[in-house]
Amino acid sequence: MSETIKVPTMAEYMAEGKTPEVLFWVGCAGSFDDRAKKITKAFVKLLHNANVDFAVLGTEESCTGDPAKRAGNEFLFQMQAVTNIEVMNAYEIKKVVTACPHCFNTLKNEYPVLGGDYEVMHHTQFLKSLLNEGKLTVAGGRFKGKRITFHDPCYLGRANKVYEAPRDLLTKLEVELVEMKRSKRNGLCCGAGGAQMFKEPEPGHKDVNIERTEDALETQPDIIAAGCPFCNTMMTDGVKNKEKEDSIAVMDVAELIANAQDL
């Protein structure tokens, strides 16, 4: 990254007596995972370019508790949720955007009963709204004409019925969007959900991410587009397993848009 974009924190905003339009919830993967950090940076570039007034919680952010909840640890989940809600409510946050469908689902659906009521958007939905408002231009550029297939993250797609926002953005890139045989509500999981990301799979004859990568490879894509840091990891591993990493890239929708414009 050539220049570092200033990423303001809520604490800094507060000190100046301001509130940003939207909180960017970075998430654990977006903060710590090397691959996912690139997605975070790409999204920040897009926000910056569209002049979005945003801030992050920085060191005040903590895991939403999603993996704990899916693993069955409701205690830990609620401890995390209550702590995060306390922080967000103190900053009077109204609107949240995140690039992680797991954070998105948890913040949007599972925080309200615990006292955290915000308007929560997945970054593809947010980018789509910027596009509609004319604040963001998405144009073909580098990816024009490339074959791209989009893998629906379970927690964005089936879990919350968001299927179109990422596809609309990709179409705007003037790419050839090809669907896998199982997509949208029939999409196959990448294998990471339900806390599987953090453990070895049970014995079987195949790993789920390989099965899903095979679906993607059948479409003979140049790029596999994802909208989730965990799917991204799973699909990247799958592509490596098939020794296709030199010809097929796995990229987040935000990265595609940012890279198309050479941001």
Partner: protein, 438 residues
């Protein structure tokens, strides 16, 4: 003497319906063993779901071949049952084709029933071929009783439809012979082709044939009704309440455990006095978190279990199952139902439940199955009658983690990371913004 058939008929009818009612009450009692959950909201949307999914079969037709065949059998089943109403009235009062006075409309009704009966026959045969000849994995993996159950129902349908058409064909012959009691009524687009088989039979034998088919048909229906209780075919009835009471929230939203919320609030509240004597409910047993047996599930989940048709659409979409893991969401539902039946039988025998040393966890569902789930909701999306196997998996995980501390080691590490550093990996929370400095 003259009234003997009427009396026999009423006895059969009362016995058939009585036994059925008794079993339905047992099912309701068993479902009520579950914990309470509020599904009384949004009546409009619930009615809409029931109309679309149960009555309108909207999710069945997502798989077009099976879906359309199923719609035919289902419509046939419902519409031909209008005829059963006439049969019951005739049976009680000794009349014959009591609705014949409807004239042209009666012709239309009988003609529709016949055409439907033929379509049902054809569909049922195709279903049988799908189940037994074509290699469809979700059917091939069924063994023992569930496999037989699926076929028995198909044979039932064939016999009932054949009896119905035979009865009509004999009736048509009798009408043409001008036999007493056999009024000229109805149109017989299908059985008119069966009738010639009975050419040359005496009026007496035709009456015996017609009566035999009539009796076997109605007795068959009563037996079928009572067979439902022992079969996955309960879905014919339970699909309606089940789709009505199905969850309306987004699939990704897992329920909130109220009991945990109370404890967490207490822990986080700086004003709460940890040494304060608990007020009223001193001796109350601490609430059990999650589920290790059917009584720990809620009634909607138990209704789910009774509704499951064992079609296996869930399992055929399950990423864990497709990659060879032991988990099968269909099995989760079948196990829950089998265990619930076992608990019900236990209550029937002992008056109230007596510990039998068994439970749903381990004796039916293993932890290996539970930990293989990716919580992807594919099973929930695939189920044609709004069953949620995932919610049972999560409740059982909750029991394992919160009551038994029995999570896989990797997950325990992940959770202690969250507890200590606010992330599932061992990174320091103070480094959360470092991505921006790299």
């Amino acid at each position: 003497m003259q009234y003997i058939p009427n009396i026999l008929f009423v006895i059969a009818l009362v016995a058939g319906i009585g036994y059925f009612t008794m079993n339905i009450r047992k099912i309701i009692r068993n479902i009520r063993l579950g914990k309470d959950v509020d599904r009384s909201d949004n009546k409009r949307e619930r009615f809409k779901n029931m109309a679309m999914i149960a009555l309108g079969q909207s999710k069945m037709v997502r798989r077009p071949i099976a879906g359309i065949l199923h719609v035919i059998v289902y419509l046939g089943f419902i519409i031909i049952n209008i005829e059963v109403l006439e049969i019951i009235i005739d049976g009680i009062f000794g009349t014959h084709r009591i609705f014949a006075f409807l004239g042209g409309f009666y012709d239309f009704l009988i003609a529709s029933f016949e055409i439907l009966a033929l379509l049902v026959l054809v569909s049922v045969i195709l279903f049988w071929i799908r189940r037994n000849v074509i290699n469809i994995r979700r059917f091939k993996t069924l063994k023992g009783w569930p496999k037989n159950d699926g076929n028995i129902i198909l044979y039932f349908e064939v016999v009932l439809m054949a009896l119905f058409l035979t009865m009509n064909a004999a009736d048509l012959q009798l009408q043409e012979l001008g036999a007493d009691h056999y009024v000229k009524a109805g149109a017989y687009p299908v059985s008119q082709f069966i009738a010639p088989l009975f050419d040359g039979m005496t009026q007496g034998s035709l009456i015996i044939l017609e009566r035999t088919a009539w009796w076997l048909h109605i007795l068959g229906i009563l037996i079928f009704l009572n067979y439902l209780y022992f079969s996955k075919h309960l879905h014919i009835l339970l699909a309606f309440p089940n789709t009505y009471y199905g969850a309306l929230k987004p699939q990704g939203e897992f329920d909130n455990l109220e009991a945990v919320t109370n404890e967490v609030k207490l822990m986080m509240d700086p004003n709460a006095d940890p040494f304060a004597a608990p007020t009223t409910e001193v001796e109350e047993e601490p609430e059990k978190f999650g589920a290790s047996d059917v009584m720990d599930l809620n009634w909607a989940q138990l209704l789910n279990a009774y509704t499951c048709t064992e079609c296996g659409r869930c399992t055929s979409e399950c990423p864990a199952n497709q990659t060879g893991k032991k988990l099968s969401p269909r099995k989760i539902m079948m196990d829950t139902r089998d265990r619930l039946k076992e608990v019900g039988d236990n209550i029937d025998k002992n008056g109230s439940f007596v510990d039998d040393g068994k439970q749903l966890l381990n004796d039916y569902i293993t932890t290996e199955e539970l930990w293989a789930c990716t919580s992807c909701n594919a099973c929930v999306e695939a189920c044609p009658v709004s069953i949620n196997p995932l919610s049972i998996i999560i409740d059982m995980r909750r029991y394992l983690v919160m009551e038994q501390s029995a999570a896989p080691t990797d997950l325990n590490n992940m959770m202690s990371n969250i507890e200590n550093n606010g992330a599932p990996w061992p990174f320091n929370q103070m480094d959360r913004l470092n991505w921006n400095k790299e």
